[in-house]
Symmetry: D2
Subunit: 110 residues, 4 copies
């Protein structure tokens, strides 16, 4: 059984002339915004997506295409997938789990 997974994608256009990349990333985010089957969270270092693995691979493929459509001739895309089959991974659950461990550890210190 495979349910939702959590993944991170980073799309880096090469040979842009300028140092700013936000216009390319903004266009990548547009692809995610149109999907109701996926949740996402934009971070300072990439985009985190939650959903079925095959849907995530599908949008990663589309996001990789975005800078080419904007005239860029080389793109380096990194997709990191974290899948767990003994229990469901969610974006919020992963962060809460770490915070809970921290609070319980602090509780012990008192």
């Amino acid at each position: 059984m495979t349910g939702n997974i959590v993944a991170e994608i980073s799309v880096v256009p090469i040979g842009t002339g300028g140092t700013g990349l936000s216009q390319y990333i903004a266009a990548c985010i547009d692809i995610l915004d149109g999907r109701k089957d996926l949740s996402y969270q934009l971070t300072p270092m990439g985009t985190i997506i939650e959903g079925p693995i095959d849907k995530i691979i599908e949008v990663a493929r589309q996001m990789h295409e975005v800078p080419f459509n904007q005239g860029i001739l080389r793109v380096v895309t990194t997709l990191k997938i974290d899948e767990r089959r003994d229990e469901l991974l969610t974006m919020s659950g992963k962060v809460e789990s770490v915070m809970n461990k921290r609070q319980s550890a602090m509780g012990k210190q008192r």
Copy 2:
């Protein structure tokens, strides 16, 4: 001139027996919590840090050590550094820059 940079770190203990990793990540975060010279943000896929590059490398080295201190015998750590020297990169600035590009693009569509 080099000022603050933005980096992402992921520490993965290998051979944990169980699937949960949050206890190790919680202990990694403790290292960041004690520092006044660095800002950080815990995401579902790693930890993003803002500060001087040498301080970030220093804490990355310490975070890599954490699972070994908890008895783990193999650790895979990934540190991704994004440094820009024509203007200052910040965690909030990077996300805002993308959001601004999205709003201005939407503005044009109307």
Copy 3:
């Protein structure tokens, strides 16, 4: 037009009990060995693949599945894709291009 690309894949099983991962990686390589449409190169830090992007995504999906088939309950897979559309990227070409730059730079020093 999109031809062959070069990608790197790393499949990390979590919660293995032991520190050795080579049995899982060996089984991942079996998937690549059966394909005539892809070239690959095993490195100490991952597997590099050359071929059409959609074929590479297809085998990455299969390689991610391998540790689950061996009883592992959590897998972190990273796929990094480098695609260039102004000229063809190949595994050997990328390395040769760096070596050529080094030789010509050394030539200038004399």
Copy 4:
């Protein structure tokens, strides 16, 4: 006790104007070439280094600086460290271990 580790580094200059990156990578390799305390292997997707962790972090820091010295204003560097403390990791040992698992598995099939 910590001995040699194996790491992978990738240095990506942003805003290069052109799509080719080999001139920057060639200059990064020069840094490794001068060191007798580290072994390295150039792959189509990065550079793999074997040696003491602190020496590797030191050269990673220097390699990240290279494109800035060549006039680039933004650099994204990724350093992935694989450290094992129950036995020594080497570049050749890691690949051989996978190949041995493959041969023994093939032996069983006969």
